[in-house]
């Protein structure tokens, strides 16, 4: 079954800006899906329409078996949303925020409390439950929004850049949490512009740019299509000209920094043999960027 099906979705904002130019997207039930794109690509607009915070200009959205226009409430009940910006009542306590959200989903107060407490524990917020949310750190606030999104046990969890501005330790804890939630059967859609995040978490991926889907496939075959990898070499001696070595395109960033594109059918051994033959010594090397990042740059350029 499909968890989310978007057909020819368009959005023009009131100021005339066309943020989505006809998007098609399908996310299967149980998937861990990445919606990737640079800032301003239209990720939050897409998420906003799916979660009823933004009105679409045209197109169709189906969430599991429900049409968002016709069976709005059933569709809404399937979704848990963690928005990009903090949007809870800053004067309310952590626990009340989560309980209130359960109430909006029609969960009676007694049951709401039990569920809220469970989600707070899962998000490691139990100790902070009575704290006024304004006094939380950025990472804690994100976790409050995740707990709030999960309180009605949604079948589809949508997270809009959940790890933006969160320090590395918490980011990894959040990854682990998302993996666990996905393992338990919840479909997850994640928007991000950290490619590393998408690569390590997601099975399927769509790349959006200027309001259009420019790439939509599974992660493995996408990575497979990347036929070059870039390395930056530190040289022991400065060079004046770029060495000319067949098959490996090179660029001299600084006299002692050489960027090399290694095609997939060649090995690093090959490269080093030839560099040695040319009398060039390498003291250290590093991967220029995450592989996906390179592809991303090529696609969105």
């Amino acid at each position: 079954m499909t968890a989310l099906c978007i057909e020819n979705l368009k959005k023009t904002y009131k100021n005339g800006f066309e943020a989505l130019k006809g998007i098609d997207l399908t996310v299967k039930q149980g998937d861990f899906f990445a919606l990737l794109g640079p800032n301003g690509a239209g990720k939050s607009t897409t998420i906003g329409i799916v979660s009823s915070m933004v009105t679409k200009s045209s197109g169709r959205v189906r969430i599991f078996e429900y049409d968002l226009d016709k069976q709005t409430n059933q569709a809404k009940n399937c979704i848990g949303l963690v928005p990009q910006e903090i949007n809870f009542n800053q004067f309310e306590t952590v626990r009340n925020i989560v309980i209130t959200q359960a109430g909006y989903h029609g969960i009676p107060r007694k049951e709401a409390k039990i569920r809220a407490d469970r989600c707070l524990k899962q998000m490691d917020l139990w100790e902070l439950r009575d704290r006024v949310s304004r006094r939380l750190s950025g990472g804690m606030k994100r976790r409050v929004m995740i707990a709030r999104a999960m309180v009605h046990a949604p079948r589809l969890l949508i997270l809009d850049e959940p790890t933006a501005g969160v320090d590395i330790e918490i980011r990894h804890a959040m990854w682990e949490m998302m993996r666990e939630v996905n393992r338990q059967g919840t479909t997850i859609i994640l928007t991000t512009h950290y490619l590393e995040e998408a690569e390590s978490l997601c099975r399927n991926i769509a790349i959006i740019n200027h309001g259009k889907i420019v790439e939509n496939s599974d992660m493995l075959s996408l990575l497979d299509r990347i036929n070059k990898e870039y390395f930056v070499l530190n040289l022991t001696k400065p060079l004046k000209t770029v060495p000319d070595i067949a098959d490996f395109s090179m660029e001299l960033t600084e006299p002692r920094l050489l960027t090399v594109a290694v095609p997939k059918h060649r090995t690093l051994n090959d490269l080093f043999q030839r560099l040695s033959a040319a009398g060039i010594e390498v003291s250290s090397l590093k991967n220029k960027s995450n592989r996906l990042e390179q592809l991303f740059m090529d696609i969105v350029r």
């Binding site: 904002y13 009131k14 906003g48 979660s51 009823s52 915070m53 933004v54 009105t55 709005t72 409430n73 059933q74 809404k76 009940n77 979704i79 949303l81 928005p83 910006e85 903090i86 949007n87 809870f88 009542n89 800053q90 209130t100 959200q101 109430g103 909006y104 989903h105 029609g106 969960i107 009676p108 107060r109 709030r148």
Partner: protein
Amino acid sequence: MKSSVALTTILAKEIRRFTRIWPQTLLPPAITTSLYFLIFGKLIGDRVGLINGVSYMDYIVPGIILMAVISHSYANVVSSFYSTKFQRHIEELLVSPVPNWVILVGYTGGGVARGMLVGSIVAAISTVFSDFQVQNWPVAIAIFILTAVLFALAGFINAVFADSFDDISIIPNFVLTPLSYLGGVFYSVSMLPAMWQQVSLANPILYMINAFRYGLIGVSDVGIERSFLMTGGFILSLVLFSLWLLHRGVGIKN
């Protein structure tokens, strides 16, 4: 059944909000109206003598109670719903399966609760200064509730259109307060020159104050049926308008 849970959730949240900050919401009207009763009713009123056959103190009690109802039901909804928009937790409602009428009833219900609570506090204080006998309970209670509903709805619409904190104080300061004072809280319109009597009759608040005065002490400048029709008509129009605004997502959705 599901909607009823959402509704009680919003109502409970709204009532908790204004009771938690009672020194800002409940205490000030108690103090101000005590001063009204003391200064206008007692000190000045003793020299005014009878007005339409009742003591000045008795005459001003209904208007002062209703003024409190009007300003507090309005203020509660306009500030609460505006801050819901401003802090963006309106989005919590938008993503949830909460029907628009539940949002409307929940928020205005909070305002009605505060308007009626403050009105009751003022009414209780008035018994210290005045010993009038309520003449017509059903009329008094009906107009008390309807007024709270009407101005809670008006506050909701104000909040929908408000884009800044200035926008939520313009109407209370420049429309509601003047219209309340000119609605005959402290005087009978029959005391005005003919032309100003006609102008006063265009003020809807005048009708509510007079109907309430009729309910409490049995005197009124205008017909009671007309007051009810007018208040009911306003409420119906504001309900329909609010639901339409919510349906279109005006002020809350991009």
